[in-house]
Symmetry: C2
Subunit: 253 residues, 2 copies
């Protein structure tokens, strides 16, 4: 049995997230369809993460256990031929049996994109949230620094999660402005349900002048979802990178 | 009667070009719908150009004659509220009566985008042509220089045009590579039907090694469409800028 780690990229607009759902098209389903066409067998796959409806992924990793002997390079090419235009396979490597796309991950980087102009952008409409009020990026960066470190993120987690332990470590949060595009980058060891979207929504309310820049520590300490900002819309969120410590040594076979 | 010049931007994927057609949704139609909602009257509009189905515009100018007294700034805001996400109004200025969005234009700049990688890009799929063979950009640039100047472009014009005079002047053609994105920029005083797409298709065949880089002058001289390359797909084409000599002095009123 080979354990393959396949890196994909997708535009999430047309999908109800990655994870298979009944009565809704998901990235996992179209990926499994492509695998089935290529390997003539429907294989189980494991995603590195769940993603919400409409969220995009520049890099998303999928684990696939298979008896098939097809070389990784050929599998990449064959899957791409069988996938729709909005899902691409970037890479495939063979990893040890105990490696798991989700549980072996040591962290992730998300980017939240905001089109910050009075006028919408017809080309970035599916990839960014159109926020017309002027954002103070310096203020957002000062506030963002308070997220860094290990905290209980209960205030930044949507209801409906079954996770008990809400302590997570954030390594980096930065806000950059490039013309009218504002990008919030968040790196951490793990994330709760809607955590990045609530962090982004709160920072945007601070940048727009609707909240004080000094309040993040108090919101974190409250453990109260109602104290944080609104959940920013899904279509601005991009899973940018999945980190694995030990992956560098693995080879394409 | 006020003569307004309105600058718009649109993602062309969902439209059968700008110009109104029977039984097909066009940018002009949705723009006129928005004008009708705002001004309570269906007004005639004049586009600066025709664009093909699926072609995008970073900047496209529309002439609108109206008795309405709404200030330009308010009209921009009101139109944006009434337009779909893939069409935006960027600007509106009042121009002299004799000014015409199409006939007063002194030139246009187009950008043709190619995603030049073995693997497709799920985010640029609607905005670029996926061309998997390696392109020699230096070779393309040397060939492109032969387009510059005043030539009869009959060999670079699709059949079915009613235009008699096929002499046009090209001021600039340049090819740039940024990562896996290759952009062909063409500036000229005017363009024939499919001219930029055939120029791009020919340059891409040269860059891919399927044609000699020295053959552009002979293809131009032949006046024979069959001698030029294939018409590159519409979805890679972007109308980037419309030039007007005298526009700088006009004011927003």
């Amino acid at each position: 049995m080979r354990n393959l780690l396949i890196t994909i990229s997708y535009k999430g607009t047309a999908y109800h997230g990655f994870q298979v759902q009944k009565n809704a098209v998901t990235v996992c389903e179209v990926f499994q369809n492509a695998v089935e066409k290529v390997l003539k067998k429907r294989e189980d796959v494991k995603g590195c993460s769940r993603t919400d409806s409409g969220v995009h992924a520049g890099q998303f990793c999928v684990g696939l256990s298979t008896e098939a002997s097809i070389p990784c390079e050929n599998l990449v090419r064959a899957l791409n031929v069988n996938l729709p235009d909005d899902v691409a396979v970037l890479d495939c490597i063979e990893v040890p049996q105990e490696f798991h796309a989700r549980y072996s991950s040591t962290g992730k980087r998300y980017v939240y994109r905001v089109w910050n102009s009075a006028v919408k952008n017809p080309f970035l409409g599916e990839y960014s949230w159109h926020y017309p009020y002027k954002l103070d990026v310096e203020k957002m960066n000062r506030a963002a620094a308070d997220f860094i470190g290990t905290h209980d993120f209960s205030a930044f987690c949507s209801a409906g999660t079954s996770v008990e332990d809400k302590v997570r470590t954030i390594h980096f949060v930065g806000v950059e402005k490039n013309g009218d595009l504002v990008q919030i980058t968040v790196e951490g060891d793990g994330f709760l349900y809607n955590m990045v979207r609530i962090m982004a929504g709160t920072l945007i309310e601070i940048g727009g002048g609707f909240r004080e820049e000094t309040q993040i520590p108090a919101v974190l300490a409250s453990l109260d979802r109602a104290k944080a900002g609104k959940t920013a819309p899904a279509h601005g969120l991009h899973l940018d990178k999945v980190f694995y410590d030990e992956i560098e040594g693995f080879k394409r076979k």
